[in-house]
Every structure is written in structure tokens, then in C-alpha cells.
């Protein structure tokens, strides 16, 4: 309760209330996330239960009864008669799961390497940051594809579909850590020169405790901002990889996989198979991105007005 009161009284919440963009995007993002989390309860069908599928329902138009079975689907069905609404809800789960874990993975690697680079300085700093620089010269989607390809080569064939999601998380995470490391290093260099760090050295704290107990909590606000914006990027990366066919397998379709399936039918008139997953992806990425933008402005008093 105390925490909640403090949060409501905080300057951050005050600025949140005054920004209509932030409020709307938060509402959209929360609605989509909740819908994804509670997909098994909300979805009218389970698209992954072959027993519930009826091929006769294939290509039903949205809101119109099917010509053969008379069943009606809110957002229509795809070629195999799967309810598009249900596949979107389940697909969003996978997209968000992959995105969130990939960002978490990138964050842990980036923050730790950034802190170590800043605190140790010298050769350690040079090595870590040069690796980061080299990685930045490749588009992150290429890096992700490369890692994805290598990892796939090492997984046994019968495990590939099961492992695909985890390989996806690791490859997106590894392609994304650089910006965390850069920002954290910059912020940590500033913090490191402050007197409280000297005070901690003076009372006998070791480097590990100083890095994680003293410096880390003070560099978390930029990390929060990047994490939010990265979440949007990771969701898009995942969709891109899946769209290219190297991501989530058709048995566990993410939004990207759905878009890939749907684009085959775009010019034959079955527009809804592509359109609804694409709009969902757009809303999800846009709302999270706008939220991140607002957060960056709100946490940076220098950008005021």
C-alpha cells in the first residue's frame, strides 16, 4: 500500500497523467498484454487442438456465416479453418514471451558488461566496447539470423521445433545487448566519479559490491527506458525472423508466423488472414514504443518543454 501511495504521489505518475499519448498507449499495451496472458480463457477456440478444427470452416470471412457450416467467426478463419482471433491471441503470447525474455537476456548481458567496462576501465573496457562496436556494424537482424542459424545447426532435429523459441530468444537477446552496454557504461562512468563511490571504497567495500549495490541502482532509469523501447524492437525482430521463416515454427505460430501465412492469401481476396495479425503487431509495437518515448522524456528533466 505504501509503495502504491508513493507511486501515485510521484512526479512520474503526475507527468503520466498529463500526457494523453502515454495514457492511451499504456491502455492499449496493457489491454493487449492482458489479452495475450489470458488467451486460453478469452479465445473462442483453441487453434492448436486439431480435434476442434474443421477444414470446412476454412477461409470464412469475418462476421459472416460460413457457406458450408453456417458458423460465424469474428475475424474470420485461415486456410485450415482456424479462428483468426484465437490464433492472434495465442500468437501474441508467443511474440510477447519471446520479446520480453529476449530483452531481459539482452539487459542482463548489456548491464553487466557495461558496468564492468565502466568500473574496470583500461583494457577490459576497451575489449568489451570494441566487441560492441564491431557488432553494431552489422544490422541486428543479420546478427540474429546468424546466431539462429548456428544454434539450429547444433540442435538435434527432433528437438528443433521445441527449441526454436529458446533459440529465437537467445539470438534476439545477443543482437540487442550493445545499446544496454553503451548506455549503462556512460551512466556508470558518471556515477563512478561521484563521492559516494569513494565513500564506499573507503569503508572497505569490494568492487563487486560497489558495482552492484551502489552504482547499479543509480543507472537503472535509463535502462528502464531502453528496455521498453527494446521490447518493441524485439517483438518486431521476432516477427521479422518468423516472417522470413527462420523463427517460430508453424506449430507455435507467433504474430510474425501468422503474417507469413497470411501474405500468401493477400492477393486472392482473403485479406483478413494477413490484416488482423499485422494490425495487432502494429498496435503492440507502437504502443510500447510510445510508452518508452514518454518514459525517456519524463525521466530526463532536461527535455522538459
Amino acid at each position: 500500500m505504501d509503495m502504491l501511495k508513493r507511486a501515485i504521489a510521484s512526479d512520474l505518475f503526475w507527468s503520466f497523467k498529463r500526457s494523453p499519448v502515454a495514457v492511451i498507449s499504456a491502455l492499449v499495451a496493457i489491454t493487449l498484454i492482458l489479452a495475450a496472458v489470458f488467451a486460453p480463457l478469452l479465445a473462442p477456440y483453441n487453434p492448436f487442438d486439431p480435434a476442434s478444427l474443421n477444414l470446412m470452416n476454412g477461409f470464412s470471412k469475418p462476421m459472416e456465416p460460413n457457406a458450408f457450416t453456417g458458423e460465424s467467426f469474428v475475424l474470420g478463419t485461415d486456410d485450415q479453418g482456424r479462428d483468426v482471433l484465437s490464433t492472434i491471441l495465442y500468437g501474441m503470447r508467443i511474440s510477447l514471451f519471446v520479446g520480453a525474455l529476449a530483452v531481459l537476456f539482452a539487459m542482463v548481458i548489456g548491464v553487466v558488461l557495461g558496468l564492468v567496462a565502466a568500473y574496470a576501465g583500461g583494457r577490459t573496457d576497451a575489449i568489451i566496447m570494441r566487441i560492441a562496436d564491431v557488432q553494431l556494424t552489422f544490422p541486428s537482424i543479420l546478427v540474429a539470423m546468424l546466431i539462429f542459424g548456428i544454434a539450429k545447426g547444433f540442435t538435434p532435429i527432433h528437438l528443433r521445433d521445441q527449441m526454436a523459441i529458446w533459440v529465437l530468444i537467445i539470438s534476439i537477446g545477443l543482437s540487442d545487448w550493445v545499446q544496454f552496454a553503451r548506455v549503462v557504461r556512460g551512466a556508470a562512468l558518471v556515477e563512478k566519479s561521484k563521492e559516494y563511490v569513494e565513500a564506499a571504497i573507503l569503508i572497505g567495500r569490494g568492487p563487486v559490491a560497489i558495482i552492484f549495490k551502489h552504482i547499479l541502482p543509480n543507472v537503472l532509469s535509463p535502462v528502464l527506458v531502453i528496455a521498453t523501447i527494446s521490447l518493441a524492437l524485439a517483438i518486431i525482430s521476432e516477427a521479422t525472423l518468423s516472417f522470413l521463416g527462420v523463427g517460430a515454427p508453424p506449430t507455435q505460430p507467433s504474430l510474425g508466423t501468422l503474417i507469413r501465412i497470411g501474405q500468401g492469401y493477400l492477393f486472392s481476396g482473403e485479406w483478413w488472414i494477413l490484416f488482423f495479425p499485422a494490425v495487432t503487431l502494429l498496435l503492440l509495437a507502437l504502443s510500447v514504443n510510445l510508452l518508452g518515448d514518454w518514459l525517456r522524456d519524463a525521466l530526463n528533466p532536461k527535455l522538459d518543454d
Partner: protein, 564 residues
């Protein structure tokens, strides 16, 4: 008729928590050829008055009421575009930081000539000649050559002279100088103040000198206006206000200023000033953990012996040794500190006094030399554990009360951390008790433990910093400019607290400051540093009454004199 008249000025800053009135009904006037000193502590609204006159209030601040008259013309209602012909032309300003008031990518000549051409109707040739004359007038040697240079090629004091030349270049009627010497060393401060005084008299200018420093006011101002929390408390001739103040607030403010001419035992209790709400309580330390172990009486005579201590920093790294560049922050410094005394280190910026503190505490390793603390070698040559054991006895209070506390930790954890790290207590209850006692001891009260640093003022934070330093039961406390970021009334409280703690706990202090009057009040013996070298070590009174070295003589003669 006065040159500038401010009538019933009210300045408001609307914000999230309601409207904050930072200047309340202030009326002032400045005559030609007069320096009006505007003094007050932080938050008094003195800079805001200057900014309001200049129409430079930061949004959302606004002039809510009142009038500003310049030479019989009302100027507070002019639009920004009309005001531009007044600001920088009829009224000039000098700001605190000469680094930021000059454009670093243009030559001095360009900046001066540009300003002259914008505001005065002269040819380019005349403007250039004028610029050189101005630099000459503000005391820059070889102005014809120096004018072609960039701001970074000038020292801090020279740069402030350029800023003054820039302010004078448009022949203003009034100059508003906001803390013009606060960023400068004492010897340069004296020269700049002398320059402002001369120019004011010779050109018949009006000057508003905004400052927190009573010494500066006493040296320069003809009249003084004292502000407190947005209100004008007292206006009068400098002599009258500083020597025989009428108002209670002025009296207590002046009482808190460390006198430069004599040593007093304690600062008088300051009434009415913006106290940080803390009072030192009588505290019986006998039998308490802090005084236990009676290590504190063990040593007599020399506690710390520093011999030929040097520290060199690498400023430019290179693969080959001969391409590397170093700076010698301290060069072969030797001194000793006796148990129970306060040893002062004084010097201007860059003299290496803070580096001495950081080498003694082990934050930076020494390059060469010896440091013997109570018989133990601090350099680690005779065993790291010996040095580490001795270091527990040495603690430090830092200069900046804002950056020296981790803003994400509660006060309780900050003060308890030294005990946790060094395993000084057996359990959490004991630790909490000691934290509560320490906070009581520095006059904050035990409830402070549950709060975060941002809930405290600068003076209170400095008390927390002292409590943290005491938590390892140190025998030797290094204070690195502990009050230079604080207002004068708060400074008096902190200095009193340090004196009390020293007596109670039998502490030995190393007190580092650039402020000579403060050094005189606090120290038994003083070392004077310049460019990394220790020029002179002597009893405090001897340093002030009969300095031996030329540099010390210069320092002492140029400190702002403020005697009551």
C-alpha cells in the same frame, strides 16, 4: 533620481505543488556610481531579483506585481523584442561561471566586436580598436595579441576579466553581477573585485552585486540589501548593516560568518536563520560502543607521519613509456599530525590538497613516499592487511553533500554500511541501535534512518555523511571542504558539530579548505599548499599573523577581510 528603481517586486513560480513566491514585495534602488550588494543564503531570491530586472525569468516564473524603472523609464512591461535593446546594451550582466558565459568556438575579438557592432553605431575598425582598449582596461596584458585567442587559452580569472570587458563594451548604465567571483580563487577574486570597484567609480556605473559572501560585500559594496526567503530584511550603508545590523536575521547571519581576524572557540548559536531543524543533544558516550575499546587514548604524540609523499596521475596514455604524459598532483609532501589536534591544509584550486586526502585514505595509491599511521605503514609495503587495519581508523567527510550519499539507499543503510562491511556488530538490532545513536549524535534524530537522502537539506546531508564516517569508530577524520557547499549559517552549525565531536570522541582531524577564515577557526596547525608542494607548516595564528613564505603572505593579505 535613482538609476534603477525596483518597486514592490513580486516574482512567482507556479508549479505542481501550488504557486511558489520567490520574491515578496521587494523595493530597491541603485544610484549611478554605486555598488549595491544583494546578500542572502541559498533560496533567498537574490538571483531572481536580478533575473527579473533583466526580464530573464525562467519559465514558468513570472513577474506577478511591481515595477522596474531604469532612468525614469518603465521597463518591466516591455515585450521581449523591445527589451533586447535594453538587455546587453543599457543593462549588462556578469555571471558566476566565466566558462559558460563565453562562446568557446569564437575568438575573444569576434565576441567583443560582434557585441559592440550590435549595440553601438560604430565602424568595424573603431569596434576593433575599442575591443583592444577594453581588454587593456580590465587588465589583460598584451591585449592586441590576446584578443586573437580563444576562451580556453585564458585562465579562469582572465576569462572573468574578458566577461567584464564584454559587459562594459556596450557602455551600459547598470551592471548586474551574479556571484562574479564565486568560481575563482581568493587571489584572483581580490583582483576582480578591485576591478569592478574601479570601473564603477570611473565610469559612474550602477552595479548590483549578488553574492552569498559577506567578505566580498564588506570589501566592495557601498550599500547592502539583505534578503531572506524572498523578503527584503534590511537595506543600508555597508558599514551600518555589517557592523551594527538592526534586524535579528542580519545579526544572526553576520554572527555565523567566521571572523578572519581572530579565533573564537565556538560560533554563536544562530537564531532565525534557516536552521536545518537540528540541535545537538547532550550525549553521554561513556560506556557507549562508539567510545568503547579505548583505543582513542592509546596514542600520544604523532599519530600520522607523512614523509616525501608524491602522487602522479597519468593524463595521457600511450603504448610507449616516453609518449605518456603525467601530472604531479603532489610533490614530495612531508608533515605530521599529532593525536587530538586539527591539522589544516589550505590552498587554491589545483594545489593538491584533496589529492593528499585521497592518497591517505587509499582511494588513490601513492606513487612514492611513506605514510605511517600509529606505527602502521599505509602504503601497503609491509603487508596489505596492516594497511587495511589502519584504514579502518581513517574516515572521511566529503565536500559535496549531494553526490556523497547514494540516493537509492535509505539513511539507515548508508550509516550502517561501514559496520556491515567491517563486521563491527554481531546482529541487526545492535546495528540499528548504533545507527539511531549516531543520528542522534549528529543532531538528526533516529527517525531519519527510514528516509532517503533527497528528503534532507545540504546541511543535514553533511550530518549524515559525518555519522557514516563515525560508524567505523575512526580515530582520524579527514574533512575535505566539508562546508564549502553550504550556507554560512549551516556552515557554523557543522563546524560547531565537528568541534563537539572532536572533543567527545577524542578525534584527530585533517581539515582541508580553501577558506582561510574557516581554517583559522578550526585548526591548531596549518599547512599551506601550492602547485602540489607544501610551502609552509606552522601554528594557525602564526600563519595569519606572521606568514613566512611569500605565497602565504599573498594569500592572507588577499582574503576578504570581514571583522566585526
Amino acid at each position: 533620481m535613482a538609476l534603477l528603481e525596483i518597486k514592490n517586486m513580486v516574482v512567482e513560480f507556479p508549479g505542481r505543488h501550488g504557486v511558489f513566491t520567490s520574491v515578496k514585495d521587494v523595493s530597491l534602488d541603485v544610484a549611478e556610481g554605486e555598488i549595491l550588494g544583494l546578500v542572502g543564503e541559498s533560496g533567498a531570491g537574490k538571483s531572481t531579483v536580478g533575473n527579473a530586472v533583466l526580464n530573464l525569468l525562467q519559465a514558468p516564473g513570472r513577474l506577478a506585481a511591481g515595477e522596474v524603472w531604469l532612468n525614469g523609464e518603465r521597463i518591466d512591461q516591455l515585450s521581449q523584442s523591445k527589451f533586447r535593446s535594453i538587455r546587453g546594451k543599457r543593462i549588462s550582466m556578469i555571471f558566476q561561471d566565466p566558462m559558460t558565459s563565453l562562446n568557446p568556438i569564437e575568438t575573444i575579438e569576434y565576441q567583443l566586436v560582434e557585441t559592440i557592432l550590435t549595440h553601438l553605431d560604430v565602424s568595424k575598425k573603431e569596434a576593433e580598436q575599442r575591443a583592444i582598449d577594453l581588454l587593456d582596461q580590465v587588465g589583460i596584458p598584451d591585449p592586441a595579441t590576446r584578443i586573437k585567442q580563444y576562451p580556453h587559452q585564458f585562465s579562469g580569472g582572465m576569462r572573468q576579466r574578458v566577461v567584464i570587458a564584454l559587459a562594459l563594451s556596450v557602455e551600459p548604465e547598470l551592471i548586474i553581477a551574479d556571484e562574479p567571483t564565486t568560481a575563482l580563487d581568493v587571489t584572483i577574486q581580490a583582483q576582480i573585485l578591485e576591478l569592478i570597484k574601479d570601473l564603477c567609480k570611473s565610469r559612474n556605473l550602477g552595479v548590483i552585486l549578488v553574492t552569498h559572501d559577506m567578505g566580498v560585500i564588506a570589501e566592495t559594496a557601498d550599500r547592502v540589501a539583505v534578503m531572506y526567503k524572498g523578503e527584503l530584511i534590511e537595506v543600508g550603508d555597508s558599514d551600518q548593516v555589517l557592523r551594527a545590523p538592526k534586524e535579528e536575521y542580519t545579526k544572526s547571519l553576520i554572527a555565523a560568518v567566521p571572523p578572519s581576524n581572530k579565533k573564537i572557540h565556538r560560533f554563536p548559536k544562530v537564531a532565525l536563520t534557516d536552521s536545518d531543524g537540528s540541535a545537538l543533544q547532550d550525549f553521554d558516550l561513556k560506556g557507549h560502543w562508539l567510545a568503547a575499546g579505548d583505543v582513542h587514548d592509546a596514542t600520544q604524540g604523532t599519530l600520522l607521519d607523512v614523509k616525501n609523499l608524491s602522487k602522479r596521475f597519468l593524463v595521457q596514455n600511450a603504448f610507449l613509456e616516453r609518449n605518456r604524459r603525467y601530472v604531479d598532483a603532489i610533490k614530495s609532501v612531508s608533515f605530521d599530525v599529532k593525536a587530538g589536534e586539527t591539522f589544516g591544509l589550505v590552498g587554491e584550486s589545483g594545489s593538491g590538497k584533496s589529492t593528499v586526502a585521497r592518497v591517505l585514505t587509499g582511494i588513490h595509491p601513492a606513487t612514492s613516499g611513506e605514510m605511517i599511521f600509529d606505527g602502521k605503514d599505509l602504503t601497503g609495503k609491509s603487508g596489505k592487511s596492516e594497511a587495511a587495519a589502519a584504514r579502518g581508523d581513517i574516515q572521511m567527510v566529503f565536500q559535496d553533500p549531494y553526490s556523497s550519499l547514494n540516493g537509492r539507499m535509505k539513511i539507515g543503510s548508508i550509516v550502517a554500511e561501514p559496520m556491515v562491511v567491517n563486521n563491527l556488530t554481531s546482529n541487526k538490532e545492535e546495528r540499528d541501535d548504533i545507527v539511531a545513536d549516531l543520528l542522534e549524535l549528529v543532531g538528526l534524530g533516529k527517525d531519519a534512518a527510514r528516509k532517503f537522502p533527497h528528503e534532507f537539506s545540504g546541511g543535514q546531508r553533511q550530518r549524515i555523511s559525518i555519522a557514516r564516517a563515525l560508524a567505523t569508530r575512526p580515530r582520524f577524520l579527514i574533512c575535505d571542504e566539508p562546508t564549502s557547499a553550504l550556507d554560512v549559517s549551516i556552515q557554523a552549525q557543522i563546524l560547531n558539530l565537528l568541534k563537539d565531536l572532536q572533543e567527545e570522541l577524542n578525534l584527530t582531524l585533517l581539515f582541508i579548505s580553501h577558506d582561510l577564515p574557516v581554517i583559522r577557526q578550526m585548526c591548531d596547525r596549518v599547512g599551506v599548499m601550492q602547485f602540489g608542494e607544501l610551502m609552509e607548516v606552522a601554528e594557525t595564528e602564526a600563519i595569519f599573523e606572521a606568514p613566512q613564505v611569500a605565497y602565504t603572505q599573498q594569500l592572507v593579505s588577499q582574503m576578504p577581510k570581514f571583522s566585526k
